[in-house]
């Protein structure tokens, strides 16, 4: 299978303030330590772990919105450590879709306009944009809500719009940071089913962070992080979790 993500010995340290109270050795906090991970196309993968374990940091690094302190990450065959900011931006624009915990829709745009946005910044023609937006909204079951602004949508609907926005430009990879954290059980289950369905029907690769047991139940592969270290990977343990 084609390799979509390759995380090689990646560490991420964040600087603390330069107060003399801190010993030079303690002026950094380590969010991720020597992480290794390979993801192949079409996987539905969860990064699990308690708060502060480094889930979001790992997703940010894979999503090229942060850079590792050491190690390197390849996304869709591209070594991201070699990219300049504009190249990173282009890679995100064309190859990655994002779903955020708090939906992060543009409030002044309608659902359809929000879904259209990734195509807009890619310079896709208006006719094609219209067609692909309609398809994406249909795939998340929100065609009838296309012209509603986010403030008139429920939490579940907003997150489904966010999913449609993440897949509309046909990315190689969809990254979702705690996508069900702000949803009730009903909407969370619907979203999980939706993402799983898109993974199967379109062959989209999903990597998401979560500590939601409902989501983990539907996940073939789970990476567990504790204190910034990968402590288990169900793939290397010889199959899916039971």
């Amino acid at each position: 299978m084609e390799e979509i993500v390759n995380v090689e010995a990646v560490s991420r340290r964040f600087p603390l303030d330069n107060s003399p109270a801190h010993h030079p050795a303690h002026r950094f906090v380590s969010a991720l330590t020597h992480a290794n991970l390979r993801v192949t196309a079409g996987e539905f993968l969860a990064i699990a772990g308690p708060s502060g374990s480094g889930k979001t940091t790992l997703l940010n690094l894979i999503g090229c919105i942060d850079q590792p302190t050491t190690g390197r990450i390849l996304v869709d065959g591209v070594d991201t450590s070699q990219l300049k900011p504009a190249g990173m931006s282009k890679l995100r624009r064309e190859r990655i879709g994002f779903v955020f915990q708090t939906f992060n829709l543009i409030p002044v745009f309608t659902a359809a306009e929000n879904v259209e946005y990734p195509l807009l910044i890619q310079g896709v023609s208006s006719g094609e944009r219209r067609e692909r937006v309609a398809q994406a909204l249909e795939s998340v079951g929100l065609s009838s809500r296309a012209n509603q602004r986010p403030d008139l949508l429920s939490g579940g609907e907003r997150q489904r719009v966010a999913v449609a926005r993440a897949i509309v430009h046909r990315p190689a990879l969809v990254l979702a940071d705690e996508p069900t954290a702000n949803l009730d059980t009903h909407n969370a289950t619907q979203l999980i089913d939706l993402m799983h369905g898109l993974n199967r029907s379109l062959g989209l690769t999903f990597i998401f962070s979560t500590h939601d047991a409902r989501l983990l139940e539907h996940t073939e592969r789970i990476i567990r992080l504790t204190d910034g270290e990968v402590v288990s990977d169900t793939a290397s343990e010889g199959g899916s979790r039971g």
Partner: protein, 409 residues
């Protein structure tokens, strides 16, 4: 591009109260500039036409030596064959008429007291045909063909200082071309109040033939040219210049603007005040808008982070903020233009008067002129000011660290 503009437009109305405050401030600046500029334009336009119609005319013809003249013998450098010159230039397409003049200096005496005067000898009919206004306070204008004594008009200040009135006599003394002192008795038929107190304190006017007899010369010091419109001055000047070449005397043609010293001073003073007001409005809009736009940027930190995460080029973020600010400027300018013009119309119909300006004794009506150039200039000023104000927030927004922006609460 249309969607991008739509996003910018909708962003403006996210915080309606703040947008409204900004629009009021920007619109207020534009309206203030329009009203001040419109009033200044009314004043300078009025002063211009008043200056021209009070006898300066649109152009004047002098001999080249006139500007080096001896003030005691003004006709030594006067125009010789002025009738021929007048007939020649009168054929110009925009020329309404020509009025010959003698500007001269001398003394007036009432037998017990003498004072210096600044005299003007005119052809009353020519002056009248050009529409020149004589601000007669009391009495009447000069009779073109008086049957009896030489008639004179004098400024109210001179009349007061000489303690004379209508019907009184004065002796006018001036130096002839030969250098001899000559005198003529005149009868005061009218008192002039031009509004310029300094001028009225020394002013005397008699008819051209009387002055020529007094100065013992057939010459005139200058020919005043009246045109159909002040706007045609440059065209008429270009047309007239060839007529003045090749004559026995070297003549010079001066436009009204070259002779209206007071007008130029007032105009440059108003321009200076307007420029100063423009600078104040520019910085007022700039400083307050930077603050407003920075607040807007901080409120949208997570959204900007999301846009950047999705791969929006940083230049787009800069452009988005600048377009938003520019649109705000355009709307503020439109509001200001509407308010300024409406207020201007209300003021124009109110009949308000301002106190007389320095050197004048009559109140000035308060009117606002509509000057398209000022409307465009004031609008551009606030639009540019807002666009500049957006640079700092725009650059800050574009440089946000995505991970931190996404975590922003």
């Amino acid at each position: 591009m249309a969607k991008f503009l739509l996003l910018a437009f909708r962003n403006i109305f996210r915080n309606r109260r703040r947008t409204l405050m900004t629009l009021f401030m920007v619109g207020g600046g534009v309206a203030g500039l329009l009203l001040a500029g419109g009033y200044f334009a009314f004043m300078t336009h009025g002063l211009r036409e008043d200056t021209i119609n009070s006898g300066l005319g649109h152009m004047q013809i002098f001999t080249a030596d006139h500007f080096n003249r001896d003030e005691n013998r003004v006709l030594d450098t006067g125009i010789d064959n002025w009738r021929q010159v007048a007939a020649s230039v009168k054929t110009g397409s925009h020329v309404r008429g020509i009025a010959p003049r003698i500007d001269f200096y001398g003394m007036v005496s009432n037998g017990t007291k003498a004072a210096g005067f600044m005299g003007s000898a005119v052809d009353p009919e020519a002056e009248k045909s050009l529409g020149f206004i004589t601000h007669i306070e009391s009495g009447r204008n000069l009779d073109p063909k008086p049957s009896g004594e030489v008639e004179a008009l004098i400024g109210n200040g001179l009349a007061k200082s000489m303690n004379v009135g209508i019907g009184d006599g004065l002796t006018v003394l001036a130096m002839t071309s030969d250098g001899a002192l000559n005198g003529v008795d005149v009868q005061i038929v009218g008192i002039i109040n031009s509004g310029a107190a300094e001028r009225d304190a020394r002013y005397l006017r008699i008819t051209l033939p009387a002055a020529q007899r007094l100065l013992q010369s057939d010459r005139v010091t200058n020919l005043v040219v009246g045109l159909d419109s002040t706007d045609n001055t440059d065209r008429a000047y270009a047309e007239m210049m060839p007529h003045l070449n090749g004559l026995s005397q070297r003549l010079e043609l001066k436009k009204w603007i070259d002779l209206a010293t007071y007008y130029k001073q007032v105009n440059s003073m108003f321009n200076g005040i307007f420029l100063f007001m423009g600078i104040i409005v520019f910085f007022m809009v700039l400083m307050s808008s930077v603050n407003t736009l920075l607040m807007s940027m901080f409120e949208r930190t997570r959204e900007i982070g999301t846009m950047l995460a999705m791969g929006t080029p940083r230049a787009w973020i800069v452009a988005l903020f600048m377009v938003e600010a520019t649109l705000l400027g355009v709307m503020g300018a439109v509001l200001g233009l509407a308010a300024g013009n409406l207020l201007g119309a209300l003021l124009n119909s109110s009949g308000l008067h301002m106190p007389p300006p320095p050197g004048y004794s009559v109140p000035m009506p308060f009117r606002v002129r509509y000057v398209p150039l000022e409307m465009v200039g004031s609008s551009l000023l606030v639009i540019v000011s807002l666009a500049l104000a957006s640079i700092l927030p725009a650059v800050r927004a574009s440089r946000l660290r995505i991970a931190e922006a996404l975590a922003h609460v």
